[in-house]
């Protein structure tokens, strides 16, 4: 290789004196020619080749994988991503079933020094596995489909929230879930709110602030709508206090649990609906904000990586985490410092950064805001994964893995000088509650408490 400048140039290139000729196969078309999310025009499928080629097998991803650290049967993200992709070039190779052990936390993406799109490779491998190797008649398939489409269940269940909550809490229901569906009976099913966020929004008559310049469209997702409407209400009140006109368009699940269960066609339907709904608002000058960090991550990155939809890039580049948005466009720290006068209630929280927040550069944000408020202490409980990863920790066969991963976080929460938890991800919150018994709040709720006179 290293003697190219000498004899080989003379052998092949007529009159060429230095280096390869114009026809050299190594020639690329200039700088930055590799775009890992480039789409093959013929198929519409993501082209994963450049991403796989960028992997130099340093195994940094493997050392960041929370599942691989507790389960030897999981060979880690490097295998699931670039290595499996290469194996698949041979047509007689199936996807390795261990792909279902990936929890989709995406810490590998965050770690990779060369930007290999590992989670994109995992998402496509998982979808291929489910489409081609999982029976449509198996319990796993229907259980996963049910979990992935939680929003559909929630829509039905929240029509009669008290009844649903009572039924879901019954030991008979749990027994059935565990035996028939393979949903763990160890966890308490999250309660449905007696009034959904959208019902509240409609009742109050929608937006109370109108503005030509400052407009946001809220992507609440299913959880804030059906289970924790107080988070959505806090978001609306905080943004209105900064003078924003808030829109709440019709929307479906972000698709996160569908990606994680390999239900890519379900996710494509949800994404198509959401992109269409929010694209029009973005074109009218709205920015999209989310209160759940997995939702914002889906809109910002996964849609773009997986689906070739009209306006998907417009939506992706105009989507933000709600708190991030205020940090960027408003003097949030200043407002917090001013609002936290003498009557502020002293409060201390044990804060966990969701993995999907890390991927958006949001780690540290909540702790920094805590610093701005007198009497508010936000203790970071470290960088371990909570282990639940959405629907993952709800599966009977994954429950133990999920809790083993979570052990470090539970210990750090209990060691922190606080007795309330804080996080932005609804399933991380479930795990924190489940592992420690702490009440867990959302950052937006705490901001609303500080900023708004009650």
């Amino acid at each position: 290789m290293s003697d190219t400048g000498g004899s080989s140039a003379e052998d092949g290139g007529e009159g060429s004196e230095s280096g390869p000729t114009d026809g050299d196969v190594l020639e690329t078309d200039g700088e930055g020619a590799f775009d890992p999310i480039e789409v093959f025009p013929e198929t519409g499928e993501p082209d994963l080749r450049p991403g796989a080629d960028d992997c130099y097998k340093c195994s940094t991803c493997d050392t960041n994988c929370p599942v691989a650290a507790v389960d030897e049967e999981f060979p880690g993200p490097k295998f699931q991503g670039p290595e499996q992709w290469r194996l698949k070039r041979r047509e007689d190779h199936d996807i390795d079933p261990s792909i279902t052990k990936c929890s989709n936390c995406m810490r590998c993406d965050h770690a990779c020094p060369t930007g290999v799109p590992l989670s994109q490779q995992h998402n496509t491998a998982r979808a291929e596995y489910v489409a081609q190797q999982v029976s449509r008649f198996s319990r796993e398939y229907w259980r996963n489909r049910l979990l992935a489409n939680y929003g559909t269940m929630a829509r039905l269940g929240s029509r009669v929230p008290r009844l649903t909550n009572a039924v879901m809490g019954l030991s008979a229901t749990k027994w059935l879930n565990e035996r028939v569906l393979g949903i763990t009976s160890e966890r308490e099913f999250p309660e449905f709110a007696t009034e959904t966020f959208r019902e509240w929004w409609a009742d109050r008559g929608g937006a109370r602030v109108s503005s030509e310049e400052k407009r946001i469209a809220y992507f609440h997702g299913d959880y804030a709508n059906y289970n924790t409407p107080e988070v959505g209400k806090a978001l609306v009140r905080v943004f209105e206090s900064f003078g924003y006109e808030v829109a709440v368009p019709d929307q479906r699940c972000s698709g996160t649990p569908m990606f994680a269960n390999g239900m890519l066609e379900d996710a494509r339907r949800a994404a198509t609906f959401n992109v269409e709904a929010f694209r029009e608002l973005v074109e009218d000058g709205y920015d999209v904000v989310c209160s759940c960090t997995s939702c914002s991550f889906a809109l910002r990155q996964e849609y773009l990586e997986l689906f070739d939809l009209k306006g998907v890039e417009t939506v992706a580049t105009n989507t933000y985490d709600a708190v991030e948005y205020l940090r960027i466009y408003e003097d949030l720290e200043g407002a917090l410092a001013e609002a936290s006068g003498d009557d502020g209630q002293p409060a201390a929280f044990a804060y966990h950064t969701p993995c999907h927040a890390r991927n958006q550069g949001l780690d540290g944000q909540t702790v920094e805001l805590g610093d701005a408020v007198d009497g508010l202490e936000v203790h970071d409980v470290g960088d371990s994964c909570s282990g639940i990863s959405g629907t993952y920790g709800w599966k009977r066969e994954r429950y133990e893995t999920s809790m083993t991963i979570g052990a470090e976080m539970f210990e750090h929460i209990e060691r922190a000088d606080a007795d309330t938890g804080l996080t932005e991800c609804p399933t991380c919150a479930m795990q924190m509650e489940h592992g420690t018994g702490y009440e867990v709040r959302h950052t937006l709720e705490v901001l609303a408490d500080v900023l708004l006179e009650q």
């Binding site: 295998f79 910002r300 550069g361």
Partner: protein, 429 residues
């Protein structure tokens, strides 16, 4: 509005974290931005200052004897000997008991996973019992499922280098792990949590079973070296437990990537950053900057947040983005460049002059990087600082070949320390 700080450090490796820690002792608001995990996860965890001279003579007994003879433009020549010593004192204070070697200027000799002996200035406490200068009979233990460390081969190689002690190696089955593709963190987690494993005689805690497997091979030795997988956060506990069970000293043999000792050092420094209230943002890259009207100062940098370019403003900036491996220095077929500020990177125009034909030759590319003045400000081709408020530290600097000299960590510490000090002094208050 921009996200505001006094000092903004770009890059989360050893140089960047040192710069941020140094600055945080002198300025109130310091932020560290790190795009991806740094090359510390590839690093041995050893803190080399200078193991070999640029003419490749060595190993050097005392790096401080050789530093005054380094050529002009070498990062150590730029910052001076006193700064190197101060930076080492600073490091010693930050890491405390986790590192050894501060008692002397002289290099320690640490056996590596390849059976070589590496001269280094500081070493993790976990490697301390294994130093090659101690004449104690040694057993190296490798595992079937971890082929990167071949203990009998490493032992044979050590014997060839003439170490003053008996050494032999043995390859065992790691209790509780059968698969050849389990990750390193799986081994560490098993030992750290002392999880029950079944090695055929019923379940027992992993450390107990491991000690039982090693015991029959101990005859005549007074220390045992393992690959660096002996636990994670509480690795000192794992090591001590094994020492008590085996009745001999236990140490880790530094290895190539991925490397838990490098990752442990990273965590140690991140904890120190938290202690000093340094704001840390990871996962998003700095992609561009705005300069003042006359081009003399950086007004703010732009961080790509999923397609949106968000300004981050500070009074002064430290560039610690790494070298060719860490992607702080980039190359195309036409040129070598520094991708964020496009600082001048001197290099021959003909790319066939960037390397030597001999794979182990004295490659010019190994010295590619930005050129700096004595305050570590990157210099343009005309010899003037690129920006008044930008400093550079670590592997993004040119003028040294860290792989040949074994000077990577020392340069990162010394230049990170100096860059952080100057960056804090620049803060307008």
């Amino acid at each position: 509005m921009a996200i505001e700080d006094d000092v903004l450090v770009i890059g989360g490796g050893l140089a960047g974290m040192t710069a941020a820690l140094t600055a945080a002792e002198r300025a109130s608001r310091v932020r560290l931005l790190s795009y991806k995990q740094s090359t510390l996860c590839h690093a041995s965890g050893l803190i080399d200052v200078l193991g070999y001279a640029p003419d490749r003579s060595g190993p050097l007994v005392d790096p401080f004897d050789a530093i005054p003879d380094l050529p002009q433009g070498h990062p150590y020549e730029r910052v001076g000997t006193d700064a190197i010593r101060e930076a080492l004192h600073f490091f010693d204070a930050v890491v405390g008991d986790a590192y050894r070697g501060a008692h002397t200027d002289r290099n320690a000799l640490v056996p590596t996973g390849d059976g070589t002996v590496k001269p280094t200035a500081r070493y993790p406490a976990s490697t301390a019992a294994g130093l090659a200068s101690r004449p104690r009979a040694t057993l190296l233990v490798g595992f079937e499922t971890l082929p990167d460390f071949d203990a009998p081969l490493a032992a044979a190689h050590l014997r060839e280098t003439g170490v003053p002690f008996e050494t032999r190696g043995v390859t065992l089955q790691f209790p509780g792990i059968q698969r050849a593709d389990a990750t390193l963190t799986r081994y560490a987690h098993l030992l750290e949590r002392d999880e029950p494993v079944d090695a055929g005689a019923g379940a027992a805690p992993a450390r107990t079973v491991l000690a039982e497997a090693v015991r029959p091979h101990l005859e005549g030795v007074s220390r045992v070296g393992f690959p660096p997988i002996l636990g994670d956060e509480h690795h000192a506990v794992v090591r001590r437990d094994l020492e008590e069970r085996l009745g001999v000293a236990v140490f880790e043999v530094p290895s190539g990537p991925p490397s838990l000792p490098g990752i442990r050092l990273e965590r140690l420094l991140f904890d120190a950053l938290e202690e000093l209230s340094v704001r840390v943002t990871t996962g998003v890259p700095v992609v561009d900057y705005e300069a003042s009207a006359d081009g003399g100062r950086i007004e703010h940098v732009l961080v790509d947040r999923n397609g949106q370019r968000v300004p981050y403003r500070a009074d002064s900036y430290v560039l610690a983005t790494g070298g060719l491996v860490g992607t702080g220095i980039d190359s195309s077929r036409e040129r070598v460049s520094e991708p964020i500020f496009d600082c001048n990177v001197a290099h021959p125009t003909d790319r066939y002059d960037w390397f030597e034909d001999d794979a182990f030759g004295d490659h010019p590319f190994a010295r590619f990087g930005v050129t700096v003045d004595r305050e570590l400000r990157p210099l343009a081709a005309d010899g003037e600082p690129e920006f008044a408020n930008l400093r550079a530290a670590g592997a993004v600097l040119g003028g040294y070949d860290y792989a040949a000299e074994k000077s990577g960590s020392g340069v990162s510490l010394a230049t990170g320390y100096v860059a952080g000090t100057h960056a804090a002094a620049e803060v307008r208050g």
